[in-house]
C-alpha cells in the first residue's frame, strides 16, 4: 500500500518532469542521456518491488531489499569489480568520494575525540581499533590510519581490496596500522561469534565502525545493524554516511549526478535502497544503538567540494553509539519498534 502510493507520487513526478524536460529540449537540444531510458528503468524497479511485496505478504516499509541472511547484493559486487582499478584516480570516477574525505574524516575524528578525550599530537586516534565496512580502495581507511588508528578495511570485492593493499603497501607508516580483508560483515561477525560469542575476548572488538556510502548498496540492513552490534565494543561508535530517500535525492542524486553531470558512474545508486535518517535511526535504535547526531552534507559540482548543511534531504552523516548494556538479540524479520525504542530510552536513562 505504501509502495503504491509512492509509485504514484513518483510517476506523477515523472510526468511533470517529462513535460519540463521536453520544454527545455527543443530550443537547446541539450541531452546527453535518454530520459525515457531512465523512466523505463524506474518502472522496472517499481514493478519488481510490487512483485516482491506480493511474495512477502508481510506489511513492511517500502524496501527494494529482499530479506536475506546476506547484506551483500551480487549485482553491486559486479558493478564495483569493474571499477576496482579506478579508486585512486582523484579526478576520475571516485572524485566525489575523495572530496568527501574533507567532511567525513573530521566528522569521525572529532566525534571519536569527544568520546575518548584528552588526546593530542600528530596521531589523535592512536590505540583505537576501527572497522571500515565497504572500504573499497581504502579512500577513507588510509586517512584514519594516518591519524594513528588501527584500521581493518573489509570489502566483498577482491579487486578493490587488492588495489587498497597495493596503495598502502608503499607507505611504511600505513603498513603497520592498516589491514585489509576480503570478506563481508556477516562473515566477520560470525568469526567474532565463533570465537565464543558473549564471552569472546572483548579486546578483539572495535572501538568504532565506519560504513560510509555503504548502506545504500546493501541487500539487508537489519542484518547489517545486527552484525555491527556484534563486533562493536559497548559504548563504541558507528558512523554512517548515506543518501536520503526523497524526491530531491532522486532528482539530484540520481538524475543529475549519474545521468547529467556524471559525477558518479551511471547505475551506481538505486533510489529504492536509499534510506531516510528517520528510518535509519529507528533501525539502529531497535538494535541497541543510540543516535547521537545526524548532519546533512551537500556536494557542489562546480567547486567539487562537499560542505555541511542543515538539510538532510540528499546526503547525510550519522553518528550512533552502541549502548553499554547488551541489547537482547532481535530476530531477522522486522518487528514493531515500539518496545525497542522504549527499551533503548530506558537503557539510556539507566546508563546515564
Amino acid at each position: 500500500m505504501y509502495s503504491r502510493k509512492f509509485s504514484r507520487l513518483i510517476l506523477g513526478l515523472y510526468n511533470r518532469k517529462t513535460s519540463a524536460i521536453t520544454a527545455v529540449q527543443s530550443p537547446g537540444g541539450r541531452s546527453g542521456f535518454s530520459w525515457s531510458a531512465v523512466c523505463r528503468q524506474r518502472t522496472r524497479w517499481l514493478r519488481r518491488d510490487g512483485a516482491l511485496e506480493v511474495q512477502r505478504g508481510v506489511p513492511c516499509q517500502m524496501s527494494a531489499r529482499s530479506i536475506s541472511q546476506s547484506t551483500v547484493d551480487p549485482s553491486e559486487v559486479k558493478r564495483f569489480q569493474s571499477l576496482a582499478s579506478k579508486w585512486w584516480d582523484e579526478q576520475g570516477e571516485f572524485a566525489a568520494l575523495h572530496a568527501m574525505n574533507d567532511l567525513r574524516v573530521p566528522f569521525i575524528r572529532d566525534n571519536l575525540l569527544n568520546v575518548h578525550p584528552g588526546r593530542q599530537g600528530g596521531k589523535p586516534l592512536t590505540g583505537l581499533r576501527i572497522l571500515d565496512v565497504g572500504c573499497g580502495g581504502g579512500l577513507l581507511t588510509e586517512p584514519l590510519g594516518r591519524l594513528g588508528a588501527d584500521v581493518l578495511g573489509i570489502d566483498p570485492v577482491p579487486d578493490s581490496i587488492g588495489t587498497a593493499q597495493l596503495h598502502s603497501s608503499h607507505d611504511p607508516d600505513l603498513c603497520e596500522r592498516v589491514r585489509y580483508q576480503t570478506c563481508t560483515l556477516e562473515e566477520l561477525s560470525a568469526e567474532e561469534e565463533g570465537g565464543g560469542g558473549e564471552t569472546a575476548n572483548p579486546l578483539r572488538r572495535f572501538d568504532a565502525i565506519v560504513a560510509s556510502e555503504v548502506v545504500e548498496h546493501l541487500a539487508d540492513l537489519e542484518t547489517f545493524a545486527l552484525c555491527c552490534s556484534h563486533v562493536l565494543k559497548p559504548g563504541g561508535s558507528l558512523f554512517i554516511t548515506t543518501i536520503n530517500k526523497t524526491n530531491l535525492s532522486y532528482a539530484l542524486g540520481i538524475v543529475v549526478a549519474e545521468q547529467l553531470l556524471r559525477i558518479v558512474p551511471s547505475g551506481t545508486h538505486d533510489w529504492e535502497k536509499f534510506i531516510s535518517p528517520v528510518e535509519l535511526e529507528r533501525l539502529l535504535e531497535s538494535n541497541g544503538f543510540s543516535v547521537q547526531s545526524v548532519q546533512g552534507m551537500l556536494y557542489n559540482p562546480v567547486s567539487r567540494a562537499w560542505s555541511w548543511t542543515n538539510s538532510t534531504a540528499i546526503n547525510y552523516a550519522l553518528h550512533a553509539v552502541k549502548l553499554k548494556e547488551e541489547h537482547p538479540q532481535t530476530d531477522q524479520t522486522v518487528t514493531p519498534h515500539q518496545t525497542g525504542v522504549d527499551e533503548g530510552k530506558e537503557l539510556k536513562l539507566n546508563v546515564g
Partner: protein, 471 residues
C-alpha cells in the same frame, strides 16, 4: 542536431574545471603529469621521509623549524638538505656581514614563533623606525613611519645571523628534524601522479654521495636558480635587470641615533643606506653593471665620495622640477650622516626578477626565491619567502590533522593560490617602481613626483602600503 557526444561532455567537464575557483585543479593536475618514474627495483622497507626540504638558506631553515615545531606534525620525519657547511656562530664577529635583510614585523613574528628570534636578538639586529625615500630628479620625498615613532617599523639583520640563529634552533629539534650538511643533490626522480603497479609513488632524491632518499613531499627552497624548479620544467617568467647591486658596510663619520633607512632613487638605480648600529650602516646600491664594476675598483676615499654625491647631488634635476619640489634638502643634510667604509666589504651581484608560474606539482612545493625573485629596492625578498613558510606550514598542519597525504595536490594548490595572490601584486609593484624611477624624462618625473608627494600626504594610503609590506 546538436547532439552532445561523450567527448563534448568531457570537454564541458573540463570547462567546468576552468570556471571553478578552487578546483581548476583537474586540468592542472592532468597537464602537470610528470615525466620520469622509477620502475620495479623493490625498495624493500626503505625509509620514507614525510618532508624533505632542499636548501638550507634563511627560508629553507625557517621551513624546517616551523614544521618541526608544529603540534600536528609531531610524528613526521623531516629532513633538511644543505649543500654548504653548518653555520655556527658562537660569538658574533666584529665585522658586519655584507648581505643583510630587512625583516618585516610579520616575518619577525614567524621567527619568534619558532624560537629563532630570541637567538637573533641575543646576537645582533637593528630595529629602525622610519624609512625615507626620495627622488634624485625632484627631491620629492615620502616618509614611512609608525605614528608615534615608538614602534619599530622593521629590522635590519645580517643574513649570517639569521641562518646561525635558525641552525641553533634546528639543533634543539633534532628528534624530529634531521639536517644533512654538505649534501648536494644531483638528481630528482618524480613520481607518477596515479598509482601504477610497480612504481614507487614517492619523490626520490639522489645525493652526490650516492645515497637515495625517498619522500612524500619535497619542498624546494634552493634559491633563484632552483634545481628543483628547473628539473620539474616549470615555466618561469624571468628577466635580468641590467643592474647589479653593490653592497658594502659603511662606517659613519660620527655616531648617531641611526634608526632611519634612507633610499634615494637615481636614474641609474636606487641607492639605500640601512642602519646596522649607531656607527655602521649597510649600503645597497643598485646600478648599471658597468658602473657597479667601476665602483668596486675605486679606492676607499673615491668610493665614499661617490656614495655621498649619489645621495646629495642634484645634477639630475632640471630647473622646472627643482622649483616644483625642493623643501627638505637642507634639513636632510644635517640629519644624514656622511660615510666612511669598512675594509674588504664590497661585493656585487646581478639583479633580476623571476616568478615561477606554478609553485606546486604533485608532491613538490617551491618556497622563497625558488618561486619568486625580486629587486631589493623594497626590501621584500626575504619577507615574501617567510610568508610562504607561514602559509605552507599552516596548510600542511591542517592536512595532517585531517589524515591527508602530505604530498596531495589539494592543499598544495591552496598554498599556491594564496601565495600567488599575495606575491604577484607585490612583485608587480616593485617592478613598476623600478621602471618608473629608471628614467629622468621630465613627464615621468613630474608624474612620479606628484604621485610620491600625494602619497606622502595621505596617511591612510601610507598605512595600507606599510601594512601590505609588513605581512
Amino acid at each position: 542536431m546538436h547532439k552532445l557526444t561523450k567527448a563534448t561532455l568531457a570537454f564541458n567537464g573540463f570547462g567546468r574545471c576552468f570556471n571553478a575557483e578552487k578546483h581548476f585543479t583537474a586540468t592542472k593536475i592532468i597537464s602537470r603529469g610528470l615525466v620520469c618514474t622509477e620502475h620495479g627495483d623493490d625498495s624493500g622497507k626503505k625509509e620514507v621521509y614525510d618532508v624533505i626540504i632542499s636548501g638550507g638558506g634563511m627560508v629553507g631553515s625557517t621551513m624546517a623549524c616551523s614544521l618541526g615545531l608544529d603540534p600536528n606534525l609531531v610524528d613526521k620525519k623531516i629532513l633538511l638538505l644543505e649543500a654548504g657547511n653548518k653555520k655556527v656562530m658562537d660569538k658574533v664577529p666584529d665585522v658586519y656581514g655584507t648581505r643583510v635583510s630587512s625583516i618585516s614585523p610579520g616575518s619577525a613574528t614567524l621567527l619568534s614563533g619558532i624560537g629563532a628570534w630570541e637567538h637573533i636578538t641575543k646576537m645582533r639586529y637593528k630595529p629602525y623606525k622610519k624609512m625615507q625615500v626620495w627622488d634624485a630628479c625632484s627631491d620629492a620625498l615620502i616618509t614611512f613611519d609608525k605614528e608615534n615613532l615608538q614602534d619599530e617599523m622593521a629590522y635590519i639583520v645580517e643574513n649570517d645571523v639569521v641562518v646561525a640563529a635558525l641552525t641553533k634552533q634546528l639543533d634543539s629539534l633534532s628528534d624530529n628534524v634531521q639536517v644533512k650538511y654538505r649534501s648536494k643533490v644531483v638528481k630528482y626522480t618524480w613520481p607518477m601522479p596515479h598509482q601504477a603497479a610497480d612504481s614507487i609513488p614517492w619523490v626520490q632524491v639522489t645525493l652526490a654521495s650516492g645515497e637515495t632518499l625517498q619522500t612524500k613531499l619535497l619542498i624546494g627552497a634552493d634559491g633563484p636558480n632552483s634545481m628543483v624548479r628547473q628539473k620539474l620544467g616549470i615555466p618561469t617568467v624571468k628577466w635580468n635587470y641590467d643592474q647589479s647591486a653593490v653592497v658594502a658596510v659603511l662606517h659613519l663619520s660620527e655616531p648617531t641615533e641611526n634608526n632611519v633607512a634612507w633610499q634615494r632613487f637615481l636614474p641609474t638605480g636606487p641607492i639605500a643606506m640601512l642602519p646596522l648600529s649607531d656607527t655602521e650602516s649597510s649600503l645597497v646600491w643598485s646600478t648599471s653593471h658597468r658602473l657597479a664594476e667601476e665602483l668596486l675598483e675605486l679606492d676607499e676615499e673615491s668610493f665614499v665620495d661617490a656614495i655621498n654625491s649619489a645621495f646629495w647631488s642634484n645634477e639630475n634635476q632640471s630647473e622646472l622640477i627643482e622649483t616644483a619640489g625642493s623643501l627638505f634638502r637642507s634639513t636632510l643634510s644635517t640629519l644624514m650622516p656622511s660615510a666612511g667604509i669598512g675594509p674588504k666589504t664590497r661585493v656585487m651581484f646581478p639583479l633580476g626578477i623571476g616568478h615561477a608560474s606554478e609553485y606546486v606539482r604533485h608532491r613538490v612545493a617551491l618556497i622563497g626565491d625558488a618561486a619568486h625573485r625580486v629587486h631589493p629596492l623594497a626590501g621584500q625578498g626575504a619577507n615574501l619567502g617567510f610568508g610562504d613558510v607561514a602559509c605552507l606550514t599552516q596548510l600542511l598542519s591542517q592536512a595532517a590533522f585531517n589524515g591527508k597525504d602530505l604530498g596531495a595536490m589539494q592543499h598544495l594548490l591552496e598554498y599556491e593560490t594564496e601565495r600567488q595572490r599575495h606575491n604577484l601584486p607585490m612583485m608587480a609593484a616593485i617592478d613598476l617602481m623600478k621602471r618608473l624611477y629608471s628614467t629622468n624624462a621630465a613627464p615621468v618625473v613630474l608624474l612620479r613626483t606628484f604621485g610620491l608627494q600625494a602619497t606622502n600626504m595621505l596617511p591612510t594610503l601610507k598605512e595600507q602600503i606599510m601594512a601590505f609590506a609588513s605581512k
